[in-house]
Amino acid sequence: MSARALARLAPVVLVLAAGLSACGGDEEPAPADTSQTTSTDETAAPEDDATSTPTDDATTAPEDDTVAVTVTREGGDFTPNGERVELGVGQTLVLTIDADEAGELHVHSTPEQDIAYGAGTSEHEITVDRPGVVEVESHDPDLVLLQLEVR
């Protein structure tokens, strides 16, 4: 094999070497330090955080201008299962969560909203301030419970 051909093989060798060393190195770092994940979402303005404030007593009955939805959790089973719910921009969705164990829901609006719920029945409010389809998802198991059609 000529020197020129050998020279052209250099990238192949380099890439293989880099690939092998990368594979070797990849095993060391832990997958993710999820325990300390700190999301720094610039758009998470303070006023948006207030929208998902849990209200743990059921005394505030849904008023006329709200939409009420009940979510039930039994073990890993959730209802509803990806149901569409129509909601107005700025309208309040009152989410009643009836769960046999604590967990967390994510509201995939922009910015995201999180709802932590405990075992038992709890009531939470969601508002979305821009038109769009917003998924309400459970984490672990990952399931889409609701799709809010906000207009």
Binding site: P11, T37, H139
Partner: protein, 450 residues
């Protein structure tokens, strides 16, 4: 940590199951979807009835010479080096975020990869021509290697096998869309980084073996960008820069084996992206006892293969002349689906690109999530004008789909009158026309139902 809105532990995992970006677009109103579908039908048969009967586009003669100074500028070493430098700097900058940055959704690597690169290469190529080719880090590194080793630039050890054509690019594109749309950890840094490393490795080895021809045929981003660039006004004839109408430019796409597969993956995957979020599919997959990745993978394959098979069948269902074998027809007509894809991609990704693209530009100032402001963009705010005007958005989407459809139908018509025997020129293009109407109406239906 300077800027923090504390989010409880474990959020990374849940968000990643969802993909990048928050709220999705509202479905388009039914009246608009129907109007679009009717327009597609009417336009199709009007084109068939009134369009020219002699082929109009010819790569060898079409196009007007660009002004001399522009040609000189575009072909200049300075511009080439500037584009390559930009590509490499961006690659190293985002690469640093990928390797050294934190595994959070605001790591700009993810937004750059999924939004600025993948979606952004469509508008960039539409406006400027084959941009990815000009900035491609794989091409730059490969060129540097051949400079250093003294090998003739662009040549490899072997000739690129002609019958492979664009098949490797189709495989690469499929690997990308699977990662983006199906893989549950698509927004975890590790797997995406691994994907990119594998991509770069394959490109470098391939270009060492087969020369830069490998990059032109197998690099998914370069093939995608160069294909979309055929809808721009920029072309070359005998090495000179020319200005062409997008239709004439589209006709210069060289049909190679696998072109139809490239087109099928691009269209099928975008349709799948709409479909996977539909309530019906959600209900089905979430009831299943198997992890979602299995039915989703299967559905993605079905969408891509389905589009490919429909195209192949529709283009081959015609009488042929001796000079063009029937088997060659799918690749010879595949270019005409590119405008339909671009129209649909505009409809599908417009908000995502505009709004998450801005978000990514903001994030790019802080690649290591330390509160830095390297590019001076950290304090910008995302403009959500587009989301706030859903009617404007819906109309734009339908117009984009309809325009794509017109361009596609005209391109297919011109190819048909060139290739098909005279007595089959009208009937021979009917199946493809119907397939195109099907794609467009199907795309509109998904925009309406998803």
């Amino acid at each position: 940590m300077s800027l923090t809105s504390t989010v409880p532990a474990g959020v990374g995992g849940a968000v990643s199951a969802h993909g990048l970006g928050g709220a999705k677009d509202l479905p388009i109103p039914s009246e608009l979807a129907i109007a679009g579908a009717v327009a597609a039908l009417v336009i199709s048969f009007t084109v068939l009835a009134v369009a020219w009967r002699e082929p109009r586009y010819d790569a060898a003669t079409s196009g007007r010479r660009a002004p001399e100074w522009l040609d000189r500028l575009v072909s200049s070493t300075a511009l080439t080096v500037a584009a390559r430098t930009f590509g490499m700097v961006a690659f190293l900058y985002v690469g640093a975020a990928a390797v050294l940055g934190q595994d959070t959704l605001i790591n700009p690597f993810l937004g750059t990869f999924y939004v600025l690169l993948w979606v952004g290469l469509v508008p960039a190529s539409l406006l400027l021509g084959p941009v990815f080719r000009a900035i491609s880090p794989a091409r730059t590194i490969s060129t540097l290697f051949s400079k250093v080793s003294g090998a003739p630039p662009g040549e490899g050890l072997y000739a690129y096998p002609a019958r492979l054509g664009y098949w490797p690019a189709a495989a690469g594109l499929f690997a990308f869309v699977w990662l983006e749309l199906v893989y549950p950890s698509s927004t975890d840094l590790g797997p995406v980084r691994l994907w990119c490393a594998a991509y770069l490795g394959i490109m470098l080895v391939g270009s060492a073996l087969f020369g830069t021809t490998f990059l032109a045929r197998a690099d998914p981003f370069e093939v995608y960008s160069s294909l979309v660039a055929k809808l721009s006004v920029w072309g070359r004839r005998d090495g000179r820069l020319v200005l062409r109408s997008p239709l004439a430019n589209l006709d210069t796409v060289v049909a190679r084996p696998g072109l139809v597969a490239v087109v099928a993956v691009l269209f099928g995957s975008t349709a799948f992206d709409s479909f996977r979020e539909s309530t019906a599919w959600l209900g089905v997959v979430q009831e299943m006892s198997v992890p979602r990745v299995l039915p989703d993978s299967l559905a993605l394959v079905v969408f891509c293969a389905g589009v490919g098979l429909v195209l192949a069948a529709a283009t081959m269902a015609t009488g042929v002349t001796d000079s063009t074998p029937r088997r060659a027809l799918p690749d010879l007509f595949a270019h005409s689906v590119v405008p339909i894809i671009v129209g649909y991609i505009v409809a599908h990704y417009l908000t995502y690109f505009v709004e998450y693209g801005q978000q990514t530009i903001i994030q790019l100032s802080d690649p290591f999530t330390r509160g830095d402001d390297y590019l001076g963009t950290a304090d910008l705010q995302v403009n959500y004008w587009l989301s706030m005007h859903p009617t404007f958005l819906a109309v734009t989407k339908v117009v984009a789909v309809a325009v794509g459809h017109v361009v596609g139908v005209v391109a297919a018509h011109d190819r048909a009158v060139r290739l098909l025997p005279r007595n089959h020129q009208l009937t021979g293009q009917l199946p493809l026309l119907l397939a195109m109407v099907g794609f467009t109406v199907g795309g509109l239906y998904l925009l309406f139902a998803a």
